[in-house]
């Protein structure tokens, strides 16, 4: 698994539940408590071990931890660059949704060896959306769900999200866009402070 993913999990655990929690999780998973390097790759088993030991330590369902991780990725101030990169997807939440098909390709433009799940957006009969999420690692759909929730908030949209049809490493995240301008949302200027 790419170091960025591992590092994200590490930051999430240590920022949300404290350094001590991360250290214990790392030890239980036999990972150096110093943590992961974002720009290196690690064996998939290591990521799995960290998640398993986080589930055991926090006594929370894996799905919930992953969804919180997704929200954390978009909303934590330290990860502002990631939120910005996602906001390049479009001016409105709807435009952003339409840009999700390209997300793995966009990510690869930035980090060529980063493998994200394949995403396929479809409109359903009731005017809602469904994102088919394939491959990568089991549970990625929950991270996506968390990220979508936080992105909707970022754009000021009101949405209902659900994960359905989980089987064989694939899953669908359904999105009902109730109000695309529910509140003002957070600002985004093309000019970053880089």
């Amino acid at each position: 698994m790419h170091g960025l993913v591992n590092r994200a999990i590490q930051c999430f655990l240590s920022e949300t539940y404290g350094r001590e929690c991360w250290t214990r999780v790392a030890r239980a998973a036999e990972v150096d408590p110093g943590g992961f390097e974002a720009m290196m790759s690690y064996a998939d088993e290591l990521t799995e071990a960290v998640l398993e030991s986080a589930v055991a330590r926090l006594d929370l369902p894996r799905e919930m931890i992953l969804e919180d991780l997704g929200t954390f990725l978009v909303s934590h101030p330290d990860l502002e660059p990631l939120r910005r990169l996602l906001r390049f997807g479009g001016e409105t939440f709807l435009d952003f949704l339409f840009s999700l098909d390209d997300l793995p390709e966009r990510a690869r433009l930035a980090v060529p060896d980063l493998e994200l799940p394949e995403l396929e957006l479809a409109e359903d009969a009731e005017g809602g959306f469904a994102i088919r999420c394939k491959g990568s690692w089991p549970g990625a759909e929950f991270v996506l769900q968390g990220m979508l929730r936080a992105m909707a908030d970022d754009y000021g949209a009101l949405v209902l999200l659900d994960v359905v049809d989980r089987e064989g490493g694939e899953a669908t995240v359904t999105i009902s866009l109730l109000d695309s301008a529910f509140h003002e949302g957070r600002s985004f200027s093309l000019a970053g402070d880089l």
Binding site: M39, L85, E91
Partner: protein
């Protein structure tokens, strides 16, 4: 008035309304036959900060390449060629342009940020809506930002790795050739003993004739001899003692709790006799010897590491001066006579 005239121009061409043209080319200028603006793209107007319609194009921008032009005739002569220009509102920001003639004698000029994109975006606070969705500019911005984030992360990684390397080097306390302590550990040990006020002797051991071995048999043999000497010295050490190599053929032994000069001289003599035993390396028989200077630090002495090293040095100098393979234990009188620099 303005709207109908704008749309009139566009309609006469390809049936596009002015608004649609503005969406396709948000930074264009449509000029009439005398070079006045008939219509301007919305992003260009936003950047200029004023209504551009009816102004002569020369008030709005300056052509820099391929030639400077002052009227529409000059501009039309550059049709189809890549243009470099600047806007009056940002004369230091180079932009790119392309001009084409219109049937009524006017001109259509499209402008792009080119490589000034990043600066222009922050300077004019441009948004996603300021670019045509077909324009790659936003992708370029995305890529620039993503790469900046990635390279910042790589820079941090490089710094961490470099920091780790530097501290590993500093913390290394072993002489890699012989496995003895190095100067760093010697200094740490000296500081510790002095801090504890524990009595000890410091022996500075300098090999004699070692250069001869190196010169006649080569460095590999020389290195093997150094390892053999290291082995001999270590064999003479108790656990509380320390042997270090601090230079090419310079060794230092610290002997804890031994301060009696006669006893020290005997130990040193024995070391020299052992070092003088022929050393066999790669078919060669190497014969070397050693000169030794000893300095002593008794419990009540107040002293620093530099001083005791210097005293051992002076004693060693005396040993060498009196014909090698000798032992000298430093005493204040030796200080006066042994080394002219000692005062």
């Amino acid at each position: 008035m303005r709207g109908t005239r704008q749309e009139g121009v566009a309609n006469s061409m390809i049936g596009l309304t002015g608004t649609a043209l503005g969406r396709f080319l948000p930074m264009h200028l449509c000029l009439d036959p005398v070079g006045r603006v008939r219509q301007a793209g919305p992003t260009l107007e936003r950047i200029a900060g004023v209504d551009l319609v009816d102004r002569p194009f020369t008030e709005i921008l300056t052509l820099r390449r391929p030639t400077v032009v002052s009227d529409i005739g000059g501009l039309l002569a550059l049709e189809g060629r890549p243009l470099k220009l600047t806007l009056a509102v940002a004369p230091a920001l180079p932009l790119k342009g392309l001009v084409a003639g219109l049937p009524d004698g006017g001109a259509m000029l499209d402008i792009s940020m080119g490589i000034s994109l990043i600066e222009a975006v922050s300077r004019f606070e441009l948004t996603l809506g300021d670019f045509s969705p077909t324009d790659l500019a936003v992708e370029l911005l995305y890529l620039h930002e993503a790469k900046s984030v990635v390279s910042a992360e790589l820079r941090r990684l490089a710094q961490r790795l470099n920091g780790a390397r530097v501290s590993a080097e500093q913390e290394a306390a072993t002489d890699t050739l012989t496995g003895l302590a190095n100067r760093r550990r010697l200094e740490a040990t000296l500081a510790r003993l002095l801090g504890q006020g524990r009595p000890f002797a410091l022996m500075q051991i300098d090999l004699d004739y070692f250069k001869l071995v190196n010169d006649s048999h080569g460095h590999d043999v020389g290195d093997a001899v150094l390892r053999e000497v290291a082995h001999l010295l270590r064999a003479q050490c108790r656990t509380q003692d320390l042997v270090a190599r601090i230079g090419g053929d310079e060794f230092v032994m610290i002997l804890a709790d031994i301060v009696e000069p006669f006893h020290l001289a005997r130990i040193a003599d024995r070391l020299i006799r052992q070092i003088e035993e022929p050393i066999h390396v790669g078919g060669f028989e190497c014969r070397i010897s050693a000169s030794i200077g000893v300095a002593v630090r008794a419990r009540q002495d107040a002293s620093d590491a530099k001083r005791i090293m210097r005293e051992a040095d002076i004693a060693l100098y005396q040993s060498k001066g009196t014909g090698r393979a000798r032992v000298t234990v430093f005493s204040p009188t030796a200080d006066a006579t042994g080394d002219p620099d000692a005062a």
